[in-house]
Amino acid sequence: MAIVETRALTKRFAGADPPAVAGVDLATREGEFLVLLGPSGSGKTTVLRMIAGLEEPTSGEIWIGGRRVDGLSPRERRIAMVFQSYALYPHLTVRQNIAFPLKAQGVPRADHGARIASAAGKFQLDRLLDRKPRELSGGERQRVALARALVREPQVFLFDEPLSNLDAKLRASAREELQRFQDEIRTTAIYVTHDQIEAMALGDRVAIMDRGRVRQIGTPAEVYDDPADTFVATFLGSPPMNLLERDGRIIGFRPEHVRAAGGGTAEESVVFGFRCELTEYLGSERLAFGELDGDWAGREVVWRMPSWQPAPEPGAQVAVAVARDRFRYFDAATGARTTPVSLG
């Protein structure tokens, strides 16, 4: 177990103008599962690859377990990585795949058997040990990749979008698998994904990246409920936070915090006039898209409600309310969080 820390980590690819990673300072906690979440091109995979030693930083430092590792080869960093493609060695059997890190690290041959059996047992691979990767299903391949990462007892696990090659159904069970894995192993792990559901479900903390910078780092609840800026506010949540601009300020509230007006006091909530344009039925929930009127005329808003609740008809005018403590305030110029303003 070890703490991974990056200091002003920067990567500029030849010929590319804005750096792929621009001064990233990250520090994991001991045994923490840290998720790097961001859209494609945000630099999250590049950060991971630099930590792994597969990419050379342009500047900045990387520390693992109190030791500076940038400049060391991947093998000297004592890390394990699970790749998006799993990168299993196709010509080797499952057993040989799992044994490879042991051989490469010079673990005494006498210990191989027990360690392979233990890693394979954790992922129910006992009966698949003599198969080749191409004879395995997607989920089984992932388990082999995890077993191969686990077998050498690394100080840190790195995951590069390991679920993105699985179909939706498999992804849910693979996510569960990862969660069990993490609960059991309790080794520091850094996990890269562009999928916010994965990030929320797996992460002890989530670092949200955009254009080479970390926008916010916090627990899933913190980054969802208290986004540091409008990027985080709109990147998380589907549909994203409603953002209404007025007088150089932006106020935001989540679609699920909209409710039909009535029952509350004016101190508790703000009431808006909402003209419904269309609704979408999504099974467990319903989305109503529409415009506000009055002071907020013309601002588009999404309202998310449980599907058992009566839906407004398209074209109908409804009074909706949002509790005051649900509002988040941002600066319109910078997008950063600001102090609350009076909404009348």
């Binding site: 093998r75 493609s85 490879f100």
Partner: protein, 283 residues
Amino acid sequence: MIAPAAAYVALLVGLPVLMSLFLSVSDARVGSETISFAGLTNFKSALATPAFRVALRNSFLFTAASQALVVAGATLLALALREPFRGRGLLRLLVLLPWVAPISLGAIGWKWLLDSLYSVVTWVLVALSLVSASNPPMWLGEPRLAMLSVLLVHAWRTLPFATMILLAGLSAIPRDIPEAAAVDGSGFWRTHLTITLPMIRPILLVALLFGVVFTFTDMTAVYILTRGGPADATQVLPSLAFFTGILGGDLAQGAAISLFLFPLLLAAAVALLRLARRAEDAS
């Protein structure tokens, strides 16, 4: 649709093969007007001549040694040329050059490099005090050295093609795989000896078989550098067949010599096709 291709193969490949089969069991000579059936006498008499036995041995030596060099060299070159570095494109072009340039040009260049009086190689070795200036090595004049020279030039010539085949094979390996090996703690040699090279083994074998068949049937390096000399020391079967059949006028004997390895090469060709199919299935 494939009729034109079939006709082309039949006319330009099938017919000459049948012709040489026919000639090899005849007593045809340039200038004689009658042809009669001679059975296997041509093969028997070929086997009886010392020149043939030397050429047969040389053919195997020439092929085995040059292709061993080519496989080892091409593997290293391909691994090196796969890494990104400044000037890689230019270097790839330079590596390919011996293959693209006409062999006569390259071989004549080598003929000068290895000349008995003006050899640059000798000159360099003398300057390094590795050989004596008063008794320089006769690169093409001493049997062993001549064989070595011919063999090296042939390896130099076939290296680019094998390199390109291997480079293509290596490029087909996803970048993740060697990276995973690196993170798993594997160094350069382990990664390549246990991961990447086994992964491209089918392609490596295709390149090797191709080189073997090509080398067994080729005489260019021998012909241009030594004409089989000194005293048949560097003669290989194709060059011997040429000298006997075309320059010596003994068509029947020449055909018999050139066909001698035909069954072996046919087997190699079949193996080549099988391998190619296996590689296709595996991917």
